[in-house]
Each structure stands twice: as C-alpha cells, then as structure tokens.
C-alpha cells in the first residue's frame, strides 16, 4: 500500500536502509563474481568472499549500534501495481525493516558466515570446485540476509525459497556422492512440502488484509476485536467496511505459516531431512544446519507472532515439544559424530518453537542466539575432528573405516587439546550447565513452558503439563547424549589410529590456526557472561530485553490477545517456578551426564570399544553389535523375568544396572519407533504420493501409444466421461 508513512522518514533512517541493502548485496556480488570468474582469481577468490562478508559484518555492527534499543527503521519502495477486476488496484511494495531482532540477526548471520568461511579456507582446501563453494556460500548468505531484512511476506517467501535452493546446492556440493545428491533432494522436497502450507497461509492473510507488508498486517491485526468465534477488524486501508473473520480461518492461516517453519526448522513430522543433510561439508552444516537457515523458521514465527491465535500457538507448542523430545531421543542412539549434532539441533529447534508456542517469545529468540554460537562451535569442532581423522586415514590408506563414527575415536583430549578446551564450553552450553549461555536461554524457555502450563491448567486440565515434562525430559537426554559424545571422542585411548601424531597437523600444532581461531572465538561466546551480566539470571539479559515482545511487537500481542500478559502476571505471582526450574534443569543435566558416563564406562568395560580397533572393523563391529543385542535381550527380557521371580534383594542389588539398562532399552525402542514412524508414516506418505503419480503417469503414457485411433477413443471417451461427471454432480 502506498500510504506507508513515507514523510516520517528521516534522512538518517533512509541512509540506514541503504546501508542495510549494501549488507544484503555484498555477499551476492562476491558470490556471483566467484561463480563466474572464481577460477581465474588468485586462490580462487576465497579472499574476495571473506572480505565481502567481513565488510558486511562490520556494516551490520554499525547498523546494530544505530538501531538496537534506539529506533526501528521501516523503508518501503513501490514494486508493482496490479488491478484486480475493475474495482481496486493493489500495489506491492518492497522494503527493509530494521528493528532489534533484524539487526541482531544481521550480526549473527554475517558473523558466523565470516567465521565459517575462514574455517573453510583450510577445511575445503584442494576441492576442485573450491570457488563454487564460496560462491554458493555467498548466495546463501545473501538469501538469509534477505529473509532477515524483508518487510513483507512475499519478499520473505522469495528469499525463503532462495535459501532452500542454495542449501540444496551446498548439501549436494559433493555431487559425486549419491548420498549427497539424495540428501539435497530430500531437503528440498521436505522444505517444499512445508512451503506449500506457507504459501497457503500467506494467501489467506493477503486475501483478508490485502497486503503482504508485515508491519501493516501487524497493525491491522492488532486492531482486531475478539468476539469469541470471530474477530472483528475495523476498516483497514483500501477497504470500505469493517470485516469479520472466523477464528478457524485465522488459526488455519497461522498454521499455514507455521508449516513453512516446520519444513525449514525441521520440526516434526518434516524433520527427517536434517540428519541426511549432514552429507554436505561440515562448515556448511555449521552455518546452515545449525546456526542460520534452520533458525529462519523460528525467526519467521517471531515475525508472524501476532498472526497466531491461541489455538495455533497450542499446536506450535505441541509440535515443538514433541520435536524436542524426539530429536533428543534419536540423538542418543546415534554414533555418527555429525548425526548426533544434527539430531541435537532438531531437538534444540524444537525448544525454540515450543518456546514460541508457549509465549516465551523472547526466551526462544535468546535461545536462537545462544544456540547459533554454541552449535556452530560444536560443528566446527566436529569438523576439526573429522579433518584429523581423514588425515590419519589418508596416512594409513584406510578406506574402510568410518571416520565419522565416534566409536572409532577416543583420546583426543590429549591429541587435540585445544579443540577439547574449545569443545567443552560449547557442549556445556548445549547441556545447559550454569555459567554457560545455553543455561540462560534454556532456563528461560523452561520457565516459560512451566508458567504457560500452570496458567493454562488453571481450569483443571493438567494435560498442559505434558509440554514442560517433554522439555525437562529433553534436558536429561541432552546431558546423556552430549556426555557420550564427549567421552567417546575425547577420553580413553585413540581406537583406530595408534600414533597420535598422525592425527595432528604436525608436531607443534594440532591444526591450522585458521581452523582454531573461529572455534576459539565461538567457544568464548558460549559463556553466559556475554549475554547477561548475571550468568544465573536470564531476566537481566540484554538480548532478552531487546527482543521482548513488548518491544518487537510494540505492545501488540495480536490474535493471541491477553495470553502473553496473563502468563507474565502468572509467572510473577508464582515466583517459585523460576527458581525451581533452574534447580531442576541443572539437576537433570547432571544426572544425564552421569548416566552418559555410566553408559560409556559400561561400553568400555564390555570391550565393545576395543574390538573395533582391528582393521576389519566392519566385521568386528557387526559382531559387537550382535553381542550387544544378545546382552540386550538377555538383560531386557530374561533378567527382568528372573528378577521378578528372584525377589526384591536382587532387584536392589542391580538397581543401578537395571535402571540404566531400562533407560537404554526405552531409548533404543523409542529411537526405533521414531525410525519406524519416519519410514512408514513420512516416507510411506511420500511413497504413496509417488505411487499415485506413477499410476497416473502410466495411464497418461498408456493412452499415448502412438495410435491415432486410440487417441480418438480416449478423447471421445473423455468427452462422455466429462458429460457424465456433470450429470452426476
């Protein structure tokens, strides 16, 4: 619409918007140049990409200090006009919207992109499409920044698609590997499934409010009056009359938008693409599948928060909670160093989405920020470890061993000490130990979830507590799998390669500085101190205060109406929740770590680890698994039976052992179950669709048999059928 408050813009705001545009196009220019001429440049132009991203980062910092807690900048430009029928003319605009959230995201995206590119200089060294890699990264960064800066849904959707496309390119970067190509396709497919819903939601909102502009939409929606089953909106610009919209359609519109988030942020049931996406280069996983792209869904939820009704938020909370739990469960059953992190990412994204759903809007965004840093750090650490393993495997000419299997690792604490010390803070942050950033954000989300459940269940329905229970359960599991991850990689002895020197770059340095510096920076940023002066209290966090809904939404909670203020009040009254959450979450995390330690010790004691040192590890691992299965059956099925008959004494004696095994069993069963759901429900649906498409396609091909006379028959038959179909209706 044209009446965007153009005259109110100061020259300063205009120039800020232009700077933002420059930030946006810098990576694109670099990426485009690299794709076209990268081969001809010195060092294939990696310096160009890094310089452009670096410049973009510094500009983002400038924008950050200009905008953060000071002003919001909204500049629009007319794009094109359309006439619909002969009544109205719709104008589409493009524009830039800078508020606290946008500038924060700008800084994060450019910063992590910069670090990842620096890291990649060594990591991707010698790849024959080195310059393409940096080119794709540039395009990705551009698209991601586009999502952040867009002020309207249409533009956002376009960048959304571009992000998907560049992610497809990057996942499939090693397209010689079939798995990588398949993974890229899968990622694209699942994202598009979500996008159809997203598009549907956009269309719905557009139809009602005749604008894609987020700010106008927000204002229009904020002025709505809840009438129970309907919302009454006063006449908005371009429309003569007040409109009444049904609650159901608005909920559906919100859920449509949420579908986009489900696809991109890997929420249940579309989460299956993310683990496969680990086929891409590790720095890519760090940037895209941990820090930025997958967080775009959460960003979208925040931007569209006013458009969600209370019921839509409930669905979001349920999906988020479920994803958090399922992701964590699946992570416990993995042994691939990157897959564990991938499932962990799914779980953490589930947290954020759940946080949005329970109205802990700011907590969720804080977690987005902290998670971006510590998860990027974890992935880069994993990259170093994999790099080292590759190095050793190359020296040994070992092509059979899986260099990403954590059971093949061990003892890296001594071999790669720097990496270890960089890894620990990030892992601690993920687990949620105090003093680390993850503690703050997780605590905030958990408190929010508890408060939400408490508030909602005031009517006596305690089912709402399922969500916080899921969330706390995930805390325990997170501790468990991260402890396992850490112990397997860094403790004990190196399993596969006995000579530690081979795992290092050389005698003096464990790895190149270009690999270590980004990791170090990110490790430091995993400390809580940077996000809140009081590392035990999230409430004082400057991030939380900057992205609170009161500030981002300008005190307009939107369709969910009084929910947010009510929860705030409730939490204020029930002040014990905050403290209890902190204690409980620390406790659960510690128990999780302890269980992880037990599990690791047990595996070591069972000799399960040592057997795989043999060169024919594939075979021995199989044996190991057989053994494991046997033991599992014995303990799970036979022992409990004996114990039941044996009485309480045996039960007591074996209590710890038993509970550990039960824990393991439940986890394995659940992990299997999730796998089954993936295979049969999600993949099954896909297969069904493919079948339907196949049958229809076959029919089309069968009719097209090259004989004119068959064409006659089918055409005339078609006419008759069409006629009958009309008669039937």
């Amino acid at each position: 619409m044209n009446q965007v408050a153009a005259p109110l813009l100061t020259p300063e705001q205009n120039s800020l918007a232009l700077w933002a545009l420059l930030v946006l196009v810098l990576p694109l220019i670099a990426g485009g140049l690299l794709l076209l001429f990268g081969k001809k440049l010195t060092r294939q132009g990696d310096w160009l990409a890094i310089a452009a991203t670096g410049l973009a980062f510094f500009l983002s910092l400038y924008l950050f200090f200009q905008v953060w807690e000071k002003q919001a900048v909204h500049v629009t430009w007319p794009w094109f006009q359309l006439a619909t029928g002969n009544t109205s003319i719709i104008s589409f605009t493009t524009g830039v919207y800078l508020d606290n959230l946008a500038v924060l995201m700008l800084v994060i995206v450019t910063f992590i992109s910069l670090l990842v590119q620096v890291f990649s200089v060594i990591y991707m060294h010698g790849e024959w499409r080195y310059h393409h890699y940096f080119g794709y990264l540039g395009i990705f960064t551009f698209s991601m920044l586009g999502i952040v800066l867009s002020d309207n849904l249409l533009l956002l959707f376009i960048f959304w698609e571009l992000v998907g496309f560049s992610s497809y390119l990057l996942i499939g970067f090693w397209y010689e590997k079939d798995a990588a190509v398949l993974a890229g396709k899968k990622a694209f497919l699942f994202n598009r499934v979500g996008d159809i819903g997203f598009l549907f939601g956009i269309f719905l909102l557009y139809t009602y409010f005749h604008t894609f502009d987020l700010i106008l939409l927000k204002n229009a929606i904020a002025s709505g009056v809840n009438q129970g089953n309907n919302f009454l909106f006063p006449a908005i610009t371009g429309q003569a009359d007040a409109i009444t919209l049904s609650y159901t359609w608005l909920t559906l519109a919100g859920l449509g938008i949420f579908c986009g988030c489900v696809g991109k942020s890997a929420q249940f049931p579309l989460q299956v693409w993310l683990p496969d996406a680990m086929e891409g280069p590790t720095p890519v996983s760090s940037l895209i599948h941990a820090a930025t792209m997958v967080a775009a869904g959460v960003y979208l939820l925040s931007r569209c928060f006013p458009f969600f009704t209370e019921d839509a938020l409930l669905v979001i909370a349920i999906i988020g909670g479920l994803t958090a739990l399922l992701g964590a469960l699946a992570a416990t059953a993995q042994y691939d160093i990157k897959k564990i992190l991938a499932f962990s990412t799914i779980s953490q994204l589930g947290y954020m989405v759940m946080g949005m759903g329970v109205g802990a809007h700011d907590a969720s965004l804080l977690h987005l920020v902290t998670h971006a840093f510590f998860k990027a750090s974890l992935f880069l650490n994993a990259g170093i470890v994999i790099h080292a393993m590759h190095h050793a495997a190359h020296e040994f000419s070992d092509e059979h061993s899986d260099v990403q299997d954590i059971r093949n690792m061990g003892g890296f604490r001594k071999i790669l000490p720097f990496t270890f010390y960089a890894y620990i803070p990030a892992a601690a942050a993920l687990v949620g130990l105090p003093l680390f950033s993850g503690f703050l954000s997780k605590d905030a989300i958990l408190t929010g979830a508890w408060g939400w459940a408490g508030f909602k269940s005031q009517n006596g329905n305690l089912l709402y507590y399922v969500i916080p229970v899921f969330a706390f359960g995930s805390v325990l599991l997170t501790g468990f799998y991260m402890a396992k991850h850490c112990f397997y990689i860094f403790f004990g002895e190196s399993k596969l390669y006995k000579e530690p020197e081979l795992l290092r770059e050389n005698k003096t340095a464990e790895a190149s500085g270009l690999l270590l510096v980004p990791v170090a920076i990110l490790a430091v940023l995993s400390l809580a101190f940077f996000f809140s002066l009081n590392p035990f209290n999230y409430a004082g966090s400057w991030v939380m205060q900057g992205v609170s809904w009161q500030k981002l939404l300008m005190e307009q909670p939107g369709l969910s109406g009084g929910l947010l203020p009510a929860i705030t009040t409730y939490l204020h009254e029930a002040s014990y929740i905050s403290l209890a959450t902190a204690i409980l979450s620390i406790l659960l995390a510690v128990v999780g770590i302890w269980l992880g330690w037990l599990s690791y010790k047990k595996a070591v004691a069972a000799g399960g680890l040592s057997t795989i040192t043999a060169p024919t590890s594939g075979f021995s691992r199989l044996a190991y698994r057989h053994f494991y299965l046997d033991a599992f059956y014995e303990k799970v099925i036979i022992n409990p039976f004996m114990r039941l008959s044996g009485g309480a004494a045996a039960f007591d004696k074996n209590f710890i052992d038993y509970s550990l095994n039960t824990f393991a069993k439940i986890m394995v069963v659940l992990a299997k179950l999730i796998g089954w759901v993936d295979r049969w429900l999600v993949d099954g649906t896909v297969h069904l669709l493919v079948k339907v498409a196949g049958v229809t396609g076959k029919l089309g091909r069968f009719m097209q048999n090259g004989k004119v006379q068959s064409y006659y028959i089918f055409s005339l038959l078609g006419l008759i059928l069409l006629f009958l179909y009309i008669l039937a209706f």
Binding site: R701, F702, Q704, N705, G706, K707, V708, Q709, Y712, I713, L716
Partner: protein, 104 residues
C-alpha cells in the same frame, strides 16, 4: 405440403455422425479413416441445412455448409498428400504400423 419435420433430419445427422465416429475408430486404413471424417462433416452439413429455417433470408446455414465443403476438400487434399508421402516411407497405410517404437 412439402414438409419434412426437423427431428428425423437431426436423427439422420446423428446416425451419420456416429457412423463416422465408428469408422474413424475402427478402420485401420488411413484413407477409410478420412472417409469417416467426411461422414462427420456431412452430418454437420445436414444439420446446418436443416437449421437454415431460422432467418431463411440470411441463408446462414446454407452458406456455412458450402464453406464446410470447401474446407473439407482442402483438408482432405492435404491429408491425402501426407498419406501418400507416409505410404512412400512406411510402405503401408495401416495406422497401427505407422509409429515409432520410441513412442509411449
């Protein structure tokens, strides 16, 4: 009175139309298919002439049918030329045999 009711004429047209359709579907010889199409055109012509009773002064139906004949003639000339050329390539006018294996 020299009166022919409308309905029988239309029915005659429908019979010819369907015989034409039957011919184009069932006969394998390309030229017989062409004859079937001529039958269909003639059925339409019969309708047009019969319906000329509307505004008989304007003669629209009859003029239309004359045009149909001219165009049908042009079309069958082209079709026959193509059939003959195809015959010289494939040595057959059997429609089932005139096709690539790459089809489908």
């Amino acid at each position: 009175m020299n009166n022919i009711p409308l309905i029988p004429v239309l029915l005659l047209g429908a019979v010819l139309f369907c015989l034409g359709i039957l011919a184009v579907i069932t006969k394998r010889h390309a030229i017989v298919v062409l004859m079937g199409i001529e039958l269909i055109f003639n059925a339409a012509n019969l309708n047009l002439v019969a319906f000329n009773r509307h505004q008989p002064d304007l003669m629209q139906g009859q003029v239309f049918s004359v045009f149909v004949m001219v165009i049908a003639a042009a079309e069958s000339a082209v079709a026959l030329a193509i059939i003959l050329k195809v015959y010289s390539y494939f040595k057959t006018v059997n429609l089932d045999q005139i096709r690539h294996e790459t089809d489908v």
